[in-house]
């Protein structure tokens, strides 16, 4: 990746790193050639640590597209609204984003032919929330002026100086599990393939932590977590498996989820959200990343993945299955005593 510290700020006019420029050219070419009516990529964000989704309609505007270690958000869910317009849409996808798009296609909410997938090898992206929290504790009140990753180390410049964060500290939790950072069977691939790194196995360790507690402690644990929930529905909005046209939480009759914010309604919301994606969650971790109050939503999703793996022998429940585990049966499924 490389690129001097300065350019990493990704300012509108900054010199592009290698992949960034190749991406911009390809996007412009696609738009100019009319292959896609729009290209969905990343643009500079509010702070150097973050980027913002960028809908590019005109070839000349493609210059604003960036690619760096801060491109954490998944762009898959934006395809949902784009389905209503005619024409094909190009979208930049990392390996985890590709699983999200496959999920939407499997759920027949996005048609594969109307999407042009542009894959990019992902070096592992920064967990901006975590870094900002560390900074806030270390140098409260200071803004991030520049930030960049050089040789696997995140370097952040603030008013009082430069701080460095090693890779294990700055990476998003999901990247630690990433077995293959290069999206396969995409339409186009920009930049070089990235060498994979030793991935932490899917051993549901964090699920087991809570599971080991006694029943009362578990209930108390989740009470504390759910107590913080603002019901902002960010987790639902970002989730590729939550693609209903009108979510049951918004339906007035029947009132699945009363609007009152109380501990029992929190349980109803979180149980339902997790159970609705059970067997279809692609473990992309976006829900946990976007949750403003940091509720460990992946613990819920992975607990369900673990049950489904154990009960029905689904080795990789986070990969879209050919038949949805809870929409099929075998006569000799495990039974109740």
């Amino acid at each position: 990746m490389g690129g001097e510290l300065k350019t990493a700020s990704g300012g509108m006019t900054g010199v592009r790193s290698g992949v960034g420029s190749e991406l911009a050219e390809r996007a412009a070419g696609l738009l100019a050639g009319g292959e896609v009516r729009m290209f969905l990529g990343y643009g500079a964000g509010r702070t150097p640590l973050r980027v913002r989704p960028r809908h590019v309609l005109r070839p000349e505007a493609a210059g604003g597209l960036v690619w760096n270690e801060f491109c954490a958000p998944s762009l898959a869910k934006y395809l949902l609204e784009e389905q209503e317009e005619e024409g094909r849409v190009g979208v930049l996808v990392k390996a985890c984003d590709l699983r999200a798009v496959k999920r939407l296609v499997a759920d027949r909410r996005v048609e594969r032919e109307r999407v042009l997938l542009v894959g990019v090898g992902c070096p592992g992206v920064v967990d901006a929330g975590k870094v900002e929290a560390l900074l806030a504790r270390a140098v409260p009140g200071e803004m991030v002026e520049e930030a960049g990753v050089r040789d696997g180390v995140l370097v952040v410049q603030t008013r009082s100086g430069v701080r460095e964060f090693p890779r294990e500290e700055y990476l998003l939790e999901r990247c630690l599990h990433c077995e293959d950072p290069n999206p396969r069977d995409v339409d186009l691939f920009v930049g070089p393939e990235v060498a994979p790194w030793p991935a932490r196995p899917h051993d549901y360790a964090e699920v087991a932590e809570v599971a080991a507690l006694g029943a009362a402690e578990r209930a108390a644990y989740w009470d504390r977590q759910f107590a913080r929930c603002l019901r902002c529905f960010a987790c639902r909005n970002v989730c590729p498996a939550c693609s209903c046209r009108e979510c049951c939480f918004d339906v007035w009759e029947p009132m699945w989820l009363p609007r009152e914010v109380s501990v029992s309604e929190q349980y109803m919301f979180h149980f339902t959200r997790a159970f609705h994606v059970a067997g279809r969650c692609v473990d992309c971790g976006e829900c946990e990343r976007v949750c403003p109050v940091g509720i460990p939503l992946m613990k819920l999703n992975r607990a369900l993945q673990k049950e489904i793996a154990e009960l029905f022998g689904v080795e990789r429940p986070w990969e879209p299955q050919e038949k949805e585990p809870l929409a099929m049966y075998t006569p000799d499924d495990p039974d109740f005593h």
Partner: protein, 168 residues
């Protein structure tokens, strides 16, 4: 997998006097169990328990559904949320379902739902899924009796209770 609390120990104090789960007016707390019974087998089994005058504790209230496959896990959460101390889902024996495959889906969904509720802190003994045929009136009565004793030992359900929310 999660450690379930031994009988009643972890469920705070024994349910003496009017506690959160007690019904108004009853001195001693009685477990409140919601039963989902499928019309063709377990509801008929419950009817048979009636015609055979088998006695069992009045702790279960039955909701008739066409098939156990109709029971949405959200109904179960709604029951626990609104004050149920136990939920019973009874269907036909696998292979005997009137709709041929309904209970196969019940078996899959509620296996996962039951373990997930356990993960969230509800003791799995509060949610019992069992198969009762139209000729098993005795089994229905025994199931209700066993479940009542188990839930009584566990005490009133504290999880998902607004009262608790107000308490701490």
């Amino acid at each position: 997998m999660p450690v379930n609390e031994p009988h009643g120990a972890a469920q705070a104090a024994a349910p003496g006097g009017a506690t959160a789960g007690a019904r108004p007016g009853t001195a001693e707390w009685e477990p409140r169990i919601i039963g989902f019974c499928c019309n063709w087998c377990s509801y008929a089994g419950a009817d048979l328990a009636g015609t055979s005058r088998l006695e069992y504790p009045p702790t279960v209230r039955v909701i008739r559904v066409p098939c156990s496959g109709r029971v949405n896990p959200q109904f179960i959460v709604r029951a626990f949320q609104k004050g149920a101390d136990g939920v019973l889902v009874a269907g036909c024996h696998p292979g005997d379902c009137h709709y041929s495959t309904g209970n196969y889906f019940t078996r899959r969904r509620l296996q996962v739902a039951r373990r997930f509720l356990e993960y969230l802190g509800i003791d799995p003994r509060r949610l019992r899924i069992t198969w009762i045929s139209a000729s098993e009136g005795q089994k229905f009565a025994d199931t209700v009796r066993e479940m009542t004793e188990e839930v009584r030992a566990l005490g009133p359900n504290r999880v998902m209770r607004d009262e608790l929310w107000a308490a701490n």
